[in-house]
Symmetry: C2
Subunit: 695 residues, 2 copies
C-alpha cells in the first residue's frame, strides 16, 4: 500500500469515528431535550457539526476511491470508461468481432475484422523487417498439430496447467487464483474501512498469488468464504487442468496430439538442421510466427486473455561461455523504464536506467539478453507504444522457471493494469537437453580448436574378468555403478584402494554394499588431446504476444477531441503510418465527374506504389468523411478540390498542404513508408487552410 493510500485510509477511519462520536452526541442531546432544558440552538449547532464532519468524510472517501479505483487524478475519465470508449470504437468499426457471434460466440475467441486484420498484418511485417531481416534470422513455419511426445519432452503435458475449482452444484469451472484475486481486489476497493492489517494481508495475497500451492489456494478460498460468483454455491478444492487443446492424429485414435501452446518447440526440434544450415556456426537465431492455443478455464479481459493467439518467437542460440553480442553497442545507450528484482522486493517503483549500465552492473545477466531488451524497446515504441507506459520488469526468483538464468518481461500499462506483452528469457540449455534426452538425437554444437588442447580426464576402467569371478550374475550392476561414480567418489575410492587395497561400495541397484578390491578397477586421470569442444547451446528467447501488443497499441493510440461545432466528441487512433490499417483516403471534395476522375487516377498511382488506400466518393460532408477515417487511424487524406492540385491532410495536426495531382501519390508514399516525415512535407509544400473543409 503506498503512502498516499495509507494516509487516506487513516484519515477516513478518523473521520468515521468522529462522525460516529458526533452522532452519539446529537442523539443524547435530543434524548436529554425531552426531559431537561437543552436549548434548540445547542442541538442545531451539534447537527451542523455532524453534517460538516459527514461532508469531510465523504470528501476523503472520494479521494481514496479515486486513488485506488483508477479514475484519473486530474479529473479525466476513469479507466473503465476509457476502456469502454476504446472497445466501443474497435467493435463498431470492426477492428475485431467476437468469433461466431451469430451463434452467441465462444469465450476467448475473437476475429480481426478488416481494419484489425490490416493492423495485425502490418505489425507482423514490421516485426519481420525489424527482427528477421535486420538480424538475418532463420525463419521457420511449423504445424500447430503436435504429437504428444514433443510436448511430453518439453514438460507441457505434465506441467502446463492452471488450478481450477468447480461450482459443487452446477459444475461450472473457475480459475481458482482469479476468484481469490477478485475477492481481494473488490474487498480492497469497496471496503474502505477495513483495518490496515487486513489491507496489508489482502495486498500480500495479491502479490504472492502466483506462488500459492493448490492446498494454500484452497485454504484461502475456504478462509475467506469465497463462493461461485454466479450461484453463490460452495466450491470444490482446486485441482490442475491442462491448458492444451487435445486431439488425435490419424484415424487409428492411437496417436494423441495437441494444438501447440507455443511455437518455440518447433524450432528446438529442428536445431540440428538449422545449425547445419547456418554453416555449423554459433550464435544464430531462428524465428517463427504462428498460432498458439491455450484452453483457458474462463477467459476474460477481452483481447488480452484468449484461447487462440498469434505468437512471434525468437530462439537465439549462443555459446553459454560467450554471451556477448556484436551489435550490443548499438543499443547500450538507450534509456527506459526498468524494474529490476531488487526494486520490486524493496517496494520501490520502476525507474529509468541506461541499458548499458544495467548490463555492466549485472542487473541484466548478459549482453545478448540486454541487446534483445533494447531491440524490443525499439520495436514497441516504433509501433506507437507510449514509452512512459512501457517498462521492463525482471522476474522474481520465484517466478522464473528453475532452469532460467534471467528473465525480463516487457510490460505495457493499459486500462487492465501492467500487461506482460513480451517475455525475454535466458532459458539456458533446458529445451535442447530435454529433446536430446527424449529423442536420443544429440542437439549440440561444437567449437573446433585452432590447435588441439590437452585436457585431463578421469577414466574409470572396471576389470571385467575379476568382477565376473567375484559377483557372477550381479557383475553388470556392479560395473554400471562403478562407471556412474562422480569424480569425487572415484578419487575417494582410488585413495582407499591405494591405501587399504579394498573398499566397501554401495550398489544402489542391488540395495547393498559389496567389497571392491584393487584388482577389480583402475581409476586414473589421463591426459588427452581434444580437437573440439562439444556443448549444448544456451537459448535466449524473446517471445511476443502479438494480440496483446495490438490491444495495448489500440489503447495508447486512442484519443477523443471535440468536433468543430463542439457538439460531439470524435474518436481518433493516432497510429503511426507503419501500422495504420490503410495509409490514405482519397476524397473528391464534391460529387462531380472531373474530381472523381482525378481521384481515380491518384488511386491508380497509389495502387502501383503499393500504398493501401480507399476512395470515398459519397456526398457526405468532408468533415464527416475526415472523422470517419480518423476513427480508423488513417494518417493521410487527399482531397480533390481542383483538377490540377489537391490537398493532403495529416490526421493529428489536421494541417493541410497543397501538392500537384502528379506528386500526390509519391508524397504520401514517402511519408507512409518513413522516407520523409510530415514535418518535411509541411516545410516543402504550400500550406492550405480551408475553414470550410475541415470540421
Amino acid at each position: 500500500m503506498d503512502a498516499v493510500e495509507e494516509s487516506l485510509r487513516r484519515a477516513l477511519s478518523q473521520k468515521q469515528s468522529a462522525v460516529e462520536t458526533q452522532g452519539n452526541t446529537v442523539r443524547s442531546l435530543k434524548a436529554a431535550a425531552v426531559t431537561t432544558s437543552v436549548s434548540k440552538e445547542k442541538i442545531d449547532a451539534a447537527i451542523e457539526d455532524l453534517n460538516k464532519l459527514k461532508l469531510e468524510m465523504a470528501s476523503v472517501e472520494k479521494q481514496l476511491q479515486a486513488h485506488i479505483g483508477g479514475a484519473g487524478r486530474d479529473g479525466s475519465i476513469s479507466k473503465e470508461a476509457f476502456r469502454q470508449a476504446v472497445v466501443n470504437t474497435l467493435e463498431r468499426r470492426l477492428f475485431y468481432i467476437p468469433s461466431f457471434k451469430i451463434y452467441r460466440g465462444v469465450a476467448g475467441l475473437y476475429d480481426y475484422g478488416p481494419p484489425g486484420c490490416s493492423v495485425k498484418s502490418n505489425v507482423l511485417s514490421f516485426w519481420r523487417q525489424h527482427f528477421v531481416l535486420e538480424e538475418n534470422m532463420l525463419e521457420v513455419d511449423c504445424p500447430c498439430v503436435t504429437p504428444e511426445v514433443v510436448l511430453k519432452a518439453s514438460g507441457h503435458v505434465d506441467k502446463f496447467t492452471d488450478l481450477m475449482v468447480k461450482d459443487e452444484k452446477t459444475g461450472t469451472c473457475y480459475r481458482a487464483d482469479h476468484l481469490l484475486k477478485d475477492y481481494c481486489s473488490e474487498k480492497l476497493q469497496k471496503d474502505l474501512t477495513m483495518p490496515p492489517e487486513k489491507v496489508t494481508e489482502l495486498k500480500h495475497v495479491l502479490a504472492t498469488l502466483d506462488d500459492l500451492s493448490s492446498e494454500e489456494l484452497g485454504a484461502k478460498i475456504k478462509e475467506y468464504g469465497i463462493t461461485a460468483p454466479d450461484t453463490k454455491n460452495s466450491l470444490s478444492d482446486p485441482y490442475p487442468f491442462n491448458l492444451m487443446f487435445q486431439t488425435s492424429i490419424g484415424p487409428s485414435g492411437l496417436l494423441p496430439g495437441y494444438m501447440r501452446p507455443e511455437t518455440a518447440q518447433g524450432i528446438f526440434v529442428n536445431f540440428k538442421d538449422l545449425y547445419y544450415f547456418n554453416g555449423n556456426k554459433l550464435p544464430f537465431a531462428a524465428a517463427q510466427i504462428g498460432q498458439a492455443f491455450r484452453n483457458e478455464i474462463s477467459p476474460r479481459q477481452g483481447l488480452l486473455r484468449v484461447r487462440e493467439f498469434t505468437l512471434a518467437e525468437i530462439e537465439h542460440f549462443v555459446d553459454p561461455e560467450d554471451k556477448s553480442h556484436p551489435k550490443y553497442s548499438e543499443v547500450a545507450n538507450l534509456e527506459f523504464l526498468m524494474f529490476p528484482r531488487e526494486e520490486q522486493m524493496s517496494g520501490q517503483s520502476a525507474k529509468i536506467i541506461r541499458l548499458g549500465d544495467a548490463v555492466s552492473k549485472g542487473i541484466v545477466n548478459n549482453e545478448t539478453l540486454g541487446y534483445f531488451i533494447g531491440r524490443v524497446y525499439l520495436f514497441l515504441t516504433r509501433l506507437g507504444i507510449d514509452k512512459d507506459r512501457l517498462r521492463f520488469r525482471q522476474h522474481l526468483a520465484n517466478e522464473m522457471a528453475h532452469y532460467a538464468c534471467d528473465c525480463w518481461d516487457a510490460e505495457i500499462e493499459c486500462s487492465y493494469g501492467w500487461i506482460e506483452c513480451v517475455g525475454i528469457a535466458d532459458r539456458s540449455a533446458y529445451d535442447l537437453l530435454a529433446h536430446t534426452e527424449k529423442s536420443g538425437v544429440p542437439l549440440v554444437a561444437s567449437e573446433k580448436f585452432a590447435e588441439p588442447k590437452e585436457v585431463e580426464k578421469l577414466v574409470i576402467a572396471p576389470v571385467k574378468k575379476d568382477l565376473g569371478l567375484a559377483f557372477k550374475a550381479n557383475q553388470k550392476k556392479v560395473i554400471e555403478s562403478l562407471e556412474a561414480m562422480s569424480e569425487k567418489e572415484a578419487l575417494d575410492m582410488k585413495a582407499a584402494l591405494d591405501s587399504k587395497g579394498e573398499v566397501e561400495f554401495y550398489v544402489c541397484t542391488l540395495e547393498k554394499n559389496v567389497t571392491i578390491t584393487k584388482n577389480m578397477v583402475t581409476i586414473n586421470k589421463e591426459r588427452k588431446k581434444e580437437h573440439q569442444r562439444v556443448f549444448t547451446p544456451s537459448v535466449i528467447e524473446p517471445s511476443f504476444g502479438i494480440g496483446r501488443i495490438i490491444y495495448c497499441l489500440f489503447e495508447h493510440s486512442f484519443y477523443m477531441r471535440p468536433s468543430k461545432a463542439g457538439d460531439e466528441q470524435l474518436n481518433v487512433f493516432r497510429f503511426p503510418p507503419v501500422v495504420a490499417p490503410i495509409k490514405c483516403t482519397v476524397f473528391p471534395l464534391v460529387q462531380n465527374q472531373q474530381y472523381e476522375a482525378v481521384a481515380k487516377s491518384i488511386s491508380k498511382s497509389l495502387t502501383a506504389a503499393g500504398i493501401s488506400h480507399k476512395i470515398d466518393v459519397t456526398g457526405t460532408s468532408i468533415g464527416k468523411r475526415y472523422a470517419r477515417t480518423d476513427e480508423l487511424g488513417v494518417p493521410f487524406a487527399i482531397t480533390v478540390d481542383s483538377e490540377s492540385s489537391v490537398t493532403i491532410r495529416e490526421r493529428d495536426s489536421k494541417d493541410q498542404v497543397r501538392v500537384s495531382v502528379e506528386e500526390a501519390a509519391s508524397v504520401v508514399k514517402g511519408v507512409s513508408e518513413g522516407h520523409t516525415t510530415w514535418a518535411d512535407v509541411w516545410s516543402t509544400f504550400p500550406h492550405h487552410s480551408s475553414a470550410s473543409q475541415d470540421d
Copy 2:
C-alpha cells in the same frame, strides 16, 4: 485409353502370340530332328526368326511402358527421377523439413525451413497485393478452433468424410479409394498383356473413382482380391471417417469443437457485419489467409496431401440476379488452357480458349466467375507457374456439390500428374442460407428500389375465432398448417372453398385430415407496394491451396545445368524475384578487408531499401558460391572486385554488368521489385565478362 496406347497394346499382344507360335515351331522342329531328318539350317533359321520376334516384342513393350509410365518421350529423365532430384534439393537446402523429424516425424506434417518459409511469405504477400489490395477486399482473421454448431450448419460434421478400410488383423487404416486406385494403376502399368476389355474396365474404374458409393467400393475391393498393402491381410468393408481434428473447448468437456477444415466459414458467419462495413452494398469480397486442418487417413504425395496447410480464400458476395463484374473487360482477352465439361466427356483434351469467348458462349457461367478465373491465371503465371502446365478444368456434374452452379479448378501439372491447386466455385446461396437457418440470424442483403414497386402477394388469413370453436386444443396446429401452405395448395383450397364451401385438409402435425369451411380462412392475392428487395447473396469462392501452389512452383522452377568443367550437374531454381527467398547475395571476390568493407556498406544500403540478402565472406571459389545461391533460387549476386565498382550477375543467363558501388543497391532494388527488368539493366550498364569468375 488414348489411340497410341491402344495401338501399342494391340501390337504387343500380336507380337506376343507371334512369339508363342514361333516358339512352338522351334520346339516341334527340334523334337522332329531327333527322329526325322530336319536340317540344322532350318532349325537355326527358325530360332533366328524367334529371336527377331522377341526383340520386336521387347521394343513394343518398351514403347508402351514409356508411354504409360511417364518417362519423358524425348528421352529426358522420368517423372520419378525428376521429382527425386527436386525433393533432394528441397530437403538438403531446408526448403522444407518433415516435422518433428528427431521423433521420426508424423505423416502429413511438414515444416517450412528458412528458404521455404521465405518463399511462402513472399507468395502470401503477393497474394495480398494481387487480390486484397488491388480489389479492395475485406480481409479478416478468424480462429482455427471452431465450435461444433458452425460446422454442423456447414455440413462438415455430417459429410466431411473419406471412406476407410482396416487391415482385419493389425487394424492399420487405409483410404479405400486409394487402394483401388493403386491396384488399377499398377495393373495397367505392369500387366502389359491384359486383354483390352480389362484395360478399358480398369480405366473406367479410375475415371469414376470419386463416384463410387461405399458399397460399390467394397464390392470392387472384394472382386479384385485387394488386400492390405503391408501385410496382405484381408480388409474390412469401407466405412466413413470424419476428416476433422476434434477437440473440446473449455474445461467442462461439454463444448465439442474442431480445427477448421477451411477458412470460409469464418467469413460466412460474419456476413452481416461485413455487409454493414461495406456500407450495405453489393458486390464485395472478403478474404482470409490461415491454417486449415484435415486429418487425412494415410497422407502421401509429400507436400501435396498434408494434414495441416495454409489456405487463402476469397468469398465474393454478389446479387444472384446480376453477376456482371466491373473489371471483367480487363481479363476478357486472356487466352489459356481450358478444359470444359464437354471436352472431358467426349474424351478430348484441354485447349486454348479466349476467356471472353468462354463466358459469352456460356461455357463459364457468368462474368464474375470468369473474372476470377482470369485473375487466378495472372496470379499463378506471375508467380512463375508455367502456363503450358496450367489448365482450368470445369467440374463434371457428378463432381460438383449439389448447390454449386459452376466450378472450375486451376490444375497444375507436376510429377504427380494434374493437381488441383485453386478451386473457383459459384456456391450460389448455399452457405449463407445454411447459417441463416441454423443461427436464426438472417444473412441477407437488400436492394432499395428507386421507386416503390407494386407486387402481387398471396395472403393466407386464418380466422382464429371460428377455428378455435371448431378445433379447440388443436387450433394452433391447424393454423400453422394453413399458413405453411404453398401458393399452389392455397389457391387450390380457395377454389374448393369457393365452389364447395368446405374442403378436407391434411394437418401433418396431427397426422389426420380435418374439414376446413369457408368461414375459417380467407385466401386472397393482394397487391402491395414494396420499397426494397431482400435476398440471399450468391457467393463466388476462389480458394487457394498455398502449399500445393508452392510445391508445383518448386517443380516448375527447377532445372539442372552442367558445371563449367562439365563434371557435375548443378541445380537451379528459376524463381522470379517476387518469390525468391532472398533477392541478392553479396560476395567479396577474395577475402580482404577493403572488399569486405564495401560488401558491408552495400549490405547496409540493401537493408535500408528492404531488400533481403545475404553476405558470403567465405573464401570459397566464386563459382561454388554462385552455385550455392543458384540452388536457393537467388536471382542476383553482387560481387565486389574493386572499391569503386562491382558486378551484378543474373542467375539464369549468368550475364554480368558493372555498376558503381553507390548504385548497386538501387539497381538490385529496382529489378527485384519489378520496377525495371534485367533487360533494362543489361542495356543500361557496361557488360562484364570474366571467364575466371563464373563456372
